[in-house]
Subunit: 183 residues, 2 copies
DNA sequence: ATCAAATGAGACAGCCACGTCTCAAACCGC
DNA sequence: GCGGTTTGAGACGTGGCTGTCTCATTTGAT
């Protein structure tokens, strides 16, 4: 039974998010294989990063599609969206890192499409009166991205219970930290 | 007039946040000097990173002290805090990166103290009834950190006007994206 | 203009990570 | 048990980066 390339790729993402220039040896270890085997699965470091980005983009795209951001009440749509993205927070963080540097034009395009889907949802919410227009949709999108990355990190470092991640992120994003008076 | 070491360090932070393993040549370029000159200012890459971290910690500490998180109404204190931290968002992001990997024990300690100051403020706010207790103080602290880093990035990439950064971050953190009914 | 200090350019050696490859050991299916 | 496949360990050559250094040029003060 040959080693599962996709499983190996997935096993590298946490290491890469924390240390983008982690040696191949370390990536291999994270996957429980040797460096030689890793090189048998992917021809080069560049190829590994590219393949992982493709995988992450596919997962992110699927998550967003499942959430159906263009459907229904915008606040509910954001809730669905966050619920779908939190489980892939690490992959999202990886994509953020890759696309903050200088990516492959084709993958930049795909990432831009995901970005637009999120911006679109926040815009739709603003137009419907559900979201505050004084907070730009692009900002809300970037904030969601940042919170996803930060939440993934917090869970990974034991600062946040995984089971709480979705709820607290959604609540902070939608309603903020301030306590409302209970009328 | 010798090249200002501190000015050079400050000039490297953006490059390092975006690419932690950026070559010394690139860091030197960011500061408008040659690699040789950079090596005259700091003995090694490690020394540069250490000195920048010390500088960043000092700035962050000063920002937090100016904000006086332990004084006054908690929501107002958070507003003061964000207003002081946003201008050093890049340095904060750099510190996050350094302390997410494996830092110097002494600097880890200093960073932990800053972390505690923020957690303390959110806790104080929860105890006073100003902040929601269902969002852990640690989470709120991590969220603020993430939003700072993300906002710094957005400004740097032209996705957010620098003059808006403080306001939108504060508003999102405190009151969220959802529009309140105007009664 | 002069001179000392600062700087940039570039050469060099060493280190680390990478990609490549070999071979023995381990694994797995029959 | 046998044989084919997979894997890990390790050696090797190469390139990029680092730190070190020299020397010519530039800079800045007098």
């Amino acid at each position: 039974m040959a080693t599962d390339r996709v499983r190996v790729l997935r096993a590298t993402v946490r290491v890469l998010v924390r240390q983008p220039n982690a040696p191949m040896d370390e990536l291999a270890k994270a996957a429980g294989i040797s460096r030689a085997t890793l090189h048998r699965l992917v021809p080069s470091r560049n190829a590994l990063v590219k393949q992982l980005a493709e995988l992450a983009l596919a997962d992110a795209r699927a998550a967003i599609e499942r959430a159906r951001p263009e459907q229904g009440e915008p606040v509910a749509a954001v809730r669905r969206l966050v619920a779908e993205l939190v489980p892939i927070a690490d992959l999202w963080a990886f994509l953020m890192g890759e696309n903050q540097i200088a990516g492959d034009p084709e993958m930049d395009q795909l990432w831009a499409e995901l970005d637009l889907a999120l911006i679109g949802l926040f815009r739709r919410g603003q137009e419907s009166g559900a979201f505050r227009v004084e907070l730009p949709a692009e900002f809300l999108t970037d904030a969601l991205s940042s919170l996803l990355a930060g939440t993934g990190w917090a869970v990974q470092h034991g600062r946040l219970a995984a089971k709480d991640a979705n709820r607290v992120l959604t609540e902070l994003l939608l309603n903020g930290a301030v306590r409302r008076n209970q009328s």
